[in-house]
């Protein structure tokens, strides 16, 4: 049955392709893509473009969110942390008209920004790692990436470092975190997997769909995939002994070797492929590994290739607004569905004009009205909102872990994050287990991220969490109940701390009803705190 539906959709999609008259003549996009405007728009200009399209299709924009919602959202999105009740109060009392812009600047300069986003990028890579040994480079990558984000290294330079990386990761030792992307894929399939990931992450193109046959829903030919893989034909990896039966990993250039496209009839045979970029321009033949990878980065990050900027724009916008211009955020292409094309191309040109400055780009997006609108869903969870509202997406495991610690104090005891550097030990720490339980692929569509019973059980019953909920002298609830004998006041502070807002009248009433029938005030507040951290809202962007 599903099969039939699929075939029908395939037919519909194919027809659409014909109707659009899209041909492979210009594989990197239509005429509009060639006339990118290389200037940086103001947030207001961008909003105008977006609203024009929203009005054209007969939609209504959501109102701007209030200050508390804004602070919580931007704080979680940029630093992965909750604002404190004091920060929320001061922000509400600040009457300067540019206070939101100032807050955005402040958060972008914080250490938490580089820490949180380094975790994000580590998860982007880790989600598709095909050889777990490569995870040895996970923590070193986080450290390296955090430093780049702190220095605001331009995105093209970060791409260059990751794609041309040579070096080692050693267990527990000083390691070169730049090798993570290359070392996530080892052995004979290395060239093919590395090519797929480089294309997916930095160009937003899932060219690996053309590995075995021409791409079923885009212009890419099978040869093009293998020509792309040929850039990595001489990228080698090997185990490096580290003593005590332990091993590290090394990525390096080999002196010979060519990539072969397997014959369809006999996979043991194949045709030698030479590097050629997606736009048809030839890469270096018979060249060293270094030359090949350098050439690939040069072609990718050239201003003539809009997909490099487009992939970043779509990913970042998708994370911040909850939906991308292309969905999922890493599946773009000349014949893929694109919404709000005019605004998108304006952003792509802008990111090029910014010379791939990540913070400048974030600042532009965060200052738009589009980002600052209220959340809502369409009629179905997967309906595209066209940026008339912000999508209420689920927090990633990193932001959720941090929020939980912000709300409850340090969960899991002083050794919750023991041995961060070694991924094998980290996996056994409380934080490691928590993040493993709650993680999802950050490139998934927000509407496809699902929760699980095991997650719900963890939040409901985990003894380490319950330990932080119980009222103890000196802990959060202990102090709250001692300092604020008035229930309404205590409730307001509890809500501000956990949900970054004040309780609505109905909520206060419901909590007071619970207080009235509870054995004592401590137990009642423990139950309320338990309920608040278990809400959908606590686990989501608002």
């Amino acid at each position: 049955m599903k099969r039939i539906v699929f075939m029908m959709l395939l037919l519909v999609t194919m027809k659409a392709g014909l109707a659009f008259g899209a041909g492979p003549a210009s594989p990197l996009g239509s005429e509009a893509w060639k006339k990118l405007e290389h200037t940086v728009p103001t947030p207001a200009q961008l909003d105008q473009l977006l609203e024009k399209e929203i009005i054209r299709v007969g939609r209504v924009t959501a109102p701007l969110c209030n200050d508390a919602d804004f602070y919580r959202r931007v704080s979680l999105d940029i630093t992965g942390k909750l604002p404190t009740p004091v920060q929320l109060r001061d922000f509400a009392q600040d009457s300067s008209p540019d206070k939101r812009a100032k807050l955005i600047d402040k958060l972008l300069e914080s250490d938490e920004y580089s820490r949180y986003w380094s975790q994000y990028w580590a998860e982007v890579i880790a989600a598709k790692v095909t050889d777990r040994r490569g995870l040895l480079a996970y923590r070193p990558f986080e450290d390296w990436m955090a430093q780049q984000l702190k220095n605001n290294t331009p995105w093209n330079q970060i791409a260059h470092e990751l794609i041309t990386a040579e070096g080692e990761v050693m267990p527990g030792d000083k390691s070169d975190g730049r090798t993570f992307l290359m070392l996530g894929h080892l052995g004979p399939d290395g060239p093919v997997e590395r090519a797929s990931e480089v294309s997916r992450i930095f160009l937003g193109i899932q060219i690996q769909c053309a590995q075995c046959h021409d791409h079923p829903s885009d212009v890419w030919k099978r040869e093009q995939f293998h020509e792309f893989a040929a850039y990595f034909a001489r990228t080698g990896d090997r185990l490096v002994p580290a003593g005590n039966m332990r091993f590290g990993l090394r990525v390096h250039g080999r002196f010979f070797g060519e990539h072969k496209m397997p014959s369809k009839e006999d996979p043991a045979k194949g045709t030698t492929m030479h590097p050629r970029f997606l736009d048809g321009s030839e890469g270096p033949k018979n060249a060293s590994d270094k030359k090949r990878r350098e050439a690939l980065v040069a072609s990718m990050t050239s201003q003539d290739n809009p997909w490099f900027a487009a992939a970043y724009v779509n990913r970042i916008w998708g994370k911040l607004l909850g939906q991308g211009f292309y969905q999922p955020i890493d599946d773009m292409g000349p014949q893929k569905e694109l919404v709000q094309q005019e605004a998108f191309l304006r952003l792509v040109g802008a990111f090029q004009a910014m010379k791939y400055d990540s913070k400048a780009f974030l600042r532009l997006v965060l200052n738009t009205k589009a980002y600052q609108r209220q959340t809502r869903l369409g009629e179905t969870q997967d309906e595209h909102l066209l940026f008339a509202a912000v999508y209420p997406s689920r927090l990633d495991a990193e932001a959720f872990w941090q929020s939980l610690n912000d709300a409850l104090g340090q969960v899991g005891g002083p050794f919750a994050s023991f041995n961060r550097l070694n991924p094998l030990f980290f996996a056994r720490s409380y934080e490691g287990q928590f993040r493993n339980q709650f993680k999802f692929d950050p490139s998934f569509r927000a509407d496809e991220v699902e929760g699980s019973v095991a997650q719900a059980l963890w939040m409901m019953n985990n003894p380490q969490i319950e330990e932080k909920i119980l009222t103890r002298p000196g802990n959060f609830l202990g102090k709250l109940l001692k300092d604020f004998p008035d229930d309404s006041q205590a409730l307001r502070i509890l809500y501000a701390r956990v949900l970054s807002r004040l309780p609505m009248a109905g909520e206060e009433e419901r909590c007071k009803a619970h207080l009235a029938k509870s054995k004592n005030r401590e137990e009642a507040f423990e139950d309320i705190l338990w309920a608040l951290i278990n809400t959908t809202e606590f686990q989501s962007r608002r």
Binding site: M1, K2, F6, L9, V12, T13, A19, V57, A62, K128, V129, T130, R133, G187, E193, R200, Q206, Q208, C209, P216, S217, P328, E337, Q374, R376, L377, T380, Q381, D382, A389, P392, R394, A427, R428, G432, Q433, N436, R445, D447, E450, S452, V453, Q455, A456, L457, M460, N461, N462, I465, M504, G506, E507, C511, K517, D527, W530, A531, N534, T535, T536
Partner: protein, 423 residues
């Protein structure tokens, strides 16, 4: 509503909506009949996968070569099946040999742990583009859920080590039990809350969800509530006692062996008895690159005892006809003994054991050459094995699940079931 969206419906539809569309058309009477037939057909079928992580040696399990240069000091022992010998250390399995089948001609070419473990769990090699589901998730998605609030797929002794449900989604993810001697993590009410307070918390949560639902996230709140309802049902379920192996007699616990693996096997039997369709139990530390012959002794002993007792117990309870038991690792070990008296990774020729669910009783398939370096007859590939498992569990191996980017992905790509293995 908008032309371009309608035309491109395929591109804009999510997996969720896609499956939903399928479900809607299934709601017709014809669909119901199909669904019922499937339930009837699968009634009582289940599968227990005993996975020996690290790669067990075929020469010290089911394909000993005593007296040859590659055989090492390992002797062979007679089994209840005349003429068939297996390695010493597997005396209990030798006793139940007439209940099981051995494949001595498994062959593959992946010699690295993580890739081979992935392949022997999913049937596919890892690929960046597609997260293939582990076999337990495939079975869980294809079988009716157990009636008693219990999960469809339980994985025992595999903390943080499961391949996971891949593109089938969290609904089919393994429910992990770290230690079979304790209740699963987080199923008991925290701090031994009494039922009154637990209900009080749940009802408070239910009411406090309203605000976010009203702020435009209603559907997300409903999903969240549904998951919490399932979790709360499990917490309160009288069937949680299924996880308590201490309620078995001491004699029974001794029979399976008071080891992590033995307890896992006993728990697997209890779960399958209550209708859980898939249980995986891990036996660890088979990666014996040095001191191989000493290190495998306790591994052999615990695994032999757990496996044989499970098969025997299932047979005595009349459950073996409906329960497929698989004993395997990700590859075998080199016939050549290395200078550190170890054996290294060897996917070219290795052995596995199967029992129950229509698998022949007392049968050996295939063979290797005198040194154990090559398969001599009836090679069985990984896709062949997965087709065989599907056949035993009455799953269509060519059934297509909806993968990422709406790409249809067969449960098994290629391969043929090994028909000789079926009675």
């Amino acid at each position: 509503m908008w032309m371009h969206l309608d035309i491109h419906a395929g591109g804009l539809m999510s997996r969720r909506a896609f499956l939903g569309a399928g479900a809607l058309s299934m709601a017709g009477w014809k669909g119901e009949v199909v669904a019922q037939a499937q339930t009837l057909r699968k009634q009582g079928l289940s599968c227990i996968l005993l996975f020996m992580t690290g790669g067990p040696s075929q020469l010290e399990t089911f394909d000993p070569k005593p007296g040859t240069p590659t055989g090492g000091p390992t002797k062979s022992i007679a089994t209840s099946l005349p003429g068939i010998q297996i390695a010493e250390g597997w005396e209990n399995t030798a006793r139940v040999m007439k209940e099981i089948s051995i494949i001595r001609s498994m062959t593959n070419n992946v010699a690295e742990h993580t890739r081979a473990q992935y392949q022997l769990h999913t049937g596919y090699l890892p690929s960046g583009g597609v997260k293939y589901p582990t076999f337990g998730s495939i079975v869980a998605s294809d079988f009716p859920a157990p009636k008693d609030d219990l999960p469809s797929f339980v994985s025992i002794g595999t903390p943080g080590n499961t391949i996971g449900s891949g593109f089938l989604g969290m609904g089919q993810a393994p429910f992990v039990v770290n230690d079979a001697s304790k209740l699963p993590a987080n199923v008991s009410k925290a701090n031994r809350l009494d039922e009154q307070r637990f209900s009080g918390r749940l009802s408070l949560l239910e009411d406090l969800e309203g605000q976010y639902a009203n702020k435009g996230a209603k559907a997300r709140v409903e999903d969240h509530k549904a998951i919490y309802a399932n979790a709360a049902r499990l917490v309160r379920s009288p069937n949680l006692k299924t996880f308590d192996i201490a309620s078995e007699s001491n004699e029974m616990q001794e029979k399976y062996g008071k080891t992590a693996f033995g307890r896992g096997c006993l728990l697997a039997r209890r779960l399958v008895e209550r209708g859980v369709p898939f249980v995986e139990v891990e036996s660890r530390d088979w990666d014996t690159h040095f001191d191989h012959f000493e290190r495998i002794k306790p591994l052999n002993s615990a695994t032999d005892r757990g496996f044989a007792s499970l098969v025997e117990d299932l047979a005595q309870r009349g459950m073996l006809e409906k329960t497929l038991v698989i004993l395997m690792g990700e590859f075998g070990r080199t016939p050549i003994i290395n200078p550190r008296t170890g054996r290294d990774h060897f996917p070219r020729a290795f052995s596995i054991a199967l029992a129950g669910a229509g698998i022949k009783k007392g049968f050996v398939l295939g063979s290797t050459n005198a040194g154990g370096t090559e398969v001599r007859e009836r090679p069985v590939s990984v896709p062949d094995l997965f087709c065989t498992l599907c056949k035993a569990l009455e799953i269509n191996p060519r059934k297509e699940n909806n993968g990422p980017l709406n790409r249809p992905i067969k449960i098994v790509d290629g391969g043929k079931p090994v028909d000789e293995l079926f009675a």
